[in-house]
Symmetry: C2
Subunit: 471 residues, 2 copies
């Protein structure tokens, strides 16, 4: 991280922790130079960055001021359904996803970041040499748990961040999706109840549906994630067999559970002997100073099954994910062997080499910066073009915004109209078993190129305005 | 195929169809030259090959004679259990497989052919250029069904062989194992009954166990595969929801269902509206003149779910398989999306290019020849070293032998003793839900190198002899 980025992050932290409040003036260039021993240009670069992220604004001949945080502009915590429910969402999900497959669409409904954000050429270059180095005998050795070098790189990385994972616990999977499904299978039987966030990622709902599980929703704050009180109540009232949560940059909310909440979450679940399936696929896409430490870091008794992948952070299409399943590691390993045997070797070796070369962190720094800037742009476009009453999240990482439109807007109708204009969006209906997020959208600011983002957002805003009677 | 190979195959077919019977003299070189317009050396090469495969033998100064087929040397059709059974085999399978992981063992218990039989260097060379050609946008397009070029290559190949598959029906999977599991999930619910061969591949039993399905076994002839009478009876007596069969070179028997039986099988199951999950992973490893046409080729009503892969024929470790699931294609596609999203792209593209280049058939010709020669050697070693009363299959493809030892031999004990001598074998216990193949071994002649095969087989024979009281 460069000096101006570090300084910008420090200021952003002061704003987040309300040491600097809306309307406060940032330190002048002169003050900053003196107190921090940094150059004027470093200070300016830092402030430009903060401005791009929507946290501050320049006032002519006066300086930089902290932006008003408009509390009403953030969606509230949704009240989840009290009952557990059989999940029947797949038909709708397939219908909506099916209609958005056209590559000519502006992909604001996509679940993926733009492939152009990844070092694809470098990764491709590594494939042949990685496979050439492999001794043929290794190909038919027992490879269910995955390549040893890759597992070592992954555990080393976690270790540096403060999360100790036993290499024996780790299983390489066909993307995080397989990891999550294996975890779910390892700890549930048909008919069991699983707790999910509200709203939650539709693929989690589909996984429950596939395994004939029931979903019970837990209230989830758009900024802080799982409400622990709500979870405690759910655990009292339902025979919950597992929780499937995304503590970091939840899909679709983008919420980030504070570290103390993660610790409390892990302790609460351990007391109830309920496994936590932690989906951490966006953990590396933070805009702050530090990677949020996964809930797994607070796991003393092995109840946390930590899942992640490179699909969103480094290598889409390589389908390399992993799981550290704690006390369930052995079951997960067996299920992996029985369902897909092992994960393809060429992508594993190429990624192991890439990580070894140190290219991952360099790439991530750039990607985070790009995503943060795009988020600022997307928020500005929403402020400028969406109908009055729109509320939107302001996540500290990832590439999704969650917009709550005026109740008059039917998101499925909006999705149809947007499609006709060559734009895909993800309607809120997909993110709950009872489809009650009916005037909500998940918007992907990390996939469309800048020009398309700039041209598509006003169209969505105009269509939404039309649906609620504004011009 | 070379001229001498073609001539050898014709003679082999005459022996198989009993036009030439045991003790008959093969055409003399002079006769053959005259009737077939081939050179003397071609005739000799063909006869050497037939001799290597154990079908004929030279008698000094007399010519080549068809070997006696010893009916008693082939295992009989085992009588399957009449009841369906809950499957609980996994612990044993994991225990046995776990003990054979050591790469220093002579791997006669392996399920894989030797990695040295594959064009690994050529495949590795293709990875980087294949990925470089990919437009980045393609990476996040809808890729659940798999790469279009690869799907076209696979359907083209089937088309040439006489099996028409709609490209829309085909889904690329993480090896055949995933394909088979997706099929099973698409057509069953927990508690359902699935018909399998007797004996059957332990991974099929594990898949049933994982999905809480019951197994009912169908009598299976060591040479002709499924006994249709037995199947008809099973269908009458049990509410069978699916059949999981391997018509070509069944694991472990190596049996090959005659084409007319395949057609009758497909028609019988269509009448009962029972889906056939056809596991065809060994279909390309035939020693005869033609690839056995899959059962899928006789499917008029879409009840056949055809599964295969490149793992045993071209690219171990690349984890590229496929399924053409007939009327269940849509369900399978959805299950794939929900469980592992899509299959890794680099291996798919490299294999598509390799197939396009025509390298596959060249490689297969060589591999089949090697396997046929090794089978002849392995059979000779069994004849020379195994205890009297041993019966063994003589498959027309693949790389497994199924040996029925004298009843006094406990195969699990033999497996232990062999391990102590640095040799792995697969005990018959693994191949049935009730573990009744207790004096049987599956022996892999396609994995160990020749020297190891030559040194290991006499050891196994000696140990088996010891266990049944011979010296």
């Amino acid at each position: 991280m460069k000096l101006y980025q570090r300084y910008a992050e420090e200021i952003a932290d002061l704003i987040r922790t309300q040491v600097l409040r809306p309307g406060d003036r940032l330190p002048s260039v002169r003050q900053a130079r003196r107190s921090r021993q940094i150059s004027a240009s470093t200070v300016f670069e830092a402030y430009y960055l903060l401005e791009a992220r929507g946290l501050v604004q320049a006032r002519p001949r006066s300086g930089y001021y902290v932006n008003a945080i408009q509390p009403s502009s953030e969606p509230g915590t949704a009240l989840p359904a009290a009952q557990s429910a059989v999940v029947e969402i797949s038909d709708l999900v397939f219908e909506v996803l099916g209609s958005t497959r056209n590559p000519d669409l502006a992909p604001l409904g996509s679940a993926f970041p733009s492939p152009l954000l990844f070092p694809l050429e470098k990764l491709a270059r590594g494939l042949t040499p990685a496979m050439r180095r492999l001794a043929p005998e290794r190909l038919t050795e027992y490879l269910t748990i995955g390549d040893e070098q890759l597992r070592r790189q992954i555990t080393r990385r976690y270790g540096v961040e403060g999360l100790g994972i036993d290499a024996q616990e780790l299983v390489i999977t066909n993307g995080a999706m397989e990891a999550l499904n294996l975890c779910l299978q390892a700890v549930t039987a048909p008919g069991d109840v699983v707790a999910v966030e509200s709203p939650t990622f539709y693929a989690a709902l589909q996984a429950l549906e596939r395994l004939n599980l029931r979903a019970v929703e837990v209230a989830t704050h758009p900024r802080h994630g799982i409400e622990l009180d709500s979870l405690a109540e759910v655990l009292q009232r339902h025979p919950v067999k597992a929780c499937w949560f995304m503590p970091s940059f939840q899909n679709p909310l983008g919420s980030l559970m504070p570290q103390q909440n993660r610790q409390a979450l892990v302790e609460l679940l351990a007391r109830h002997q309920v496994p936590l399936i932690e989906d951490d696929v966006y953990g590396e896409l933070y805009f702050g100073l530090h990677r949020p430490l996964p809930a797994k870091a607070y796991d003393r008794q092995g109840w946390v099954m930590h899942c992640s992948s490179f699909s969103k952070s480094l290598a889409p299409g390589y389908r390399v994910g992993w799981v550290a399943a704690g006390r369930f590691a052995r079951q997960v390993q067996r299920l992996k062997l029985m369902s897909t045997l092992s994960t393809a070797i060429p992508p594993q070796l190429a990624l192991a080499d890439f990580l070894h070369s140190g290219g991952f962190d360099r790439h991530l720094r750039q990607m985070r910066q790009t995503l943060a800037e795009r988020q600022a742009l997307a928020l500005q476009l929403i402020a400028d073009h969406f109908p009055p009453g729109t509320r939107v999240t302001r996540p500290e990482g990832g590439y999704f915004l969650w917009a709550e439109l005026p109740p008059a807007v039917d998101a499925l109708r909006l999705q149809q109209l947007a499609l006709e204009q060559g734009i895909s969006v993800a309607p809120g209906h997909l993110f709950s078993a009872d489809q009650r997020f009916s005037h909500h959208l998940r918007l992907n600011y990390g996939h469309p190129d800048l020009d398309r983002l700039k041209s598509a957002m006003p169209v969505i805003g105009r269509l939404a305005s039309g649906l609620c009677g504004f011009e």
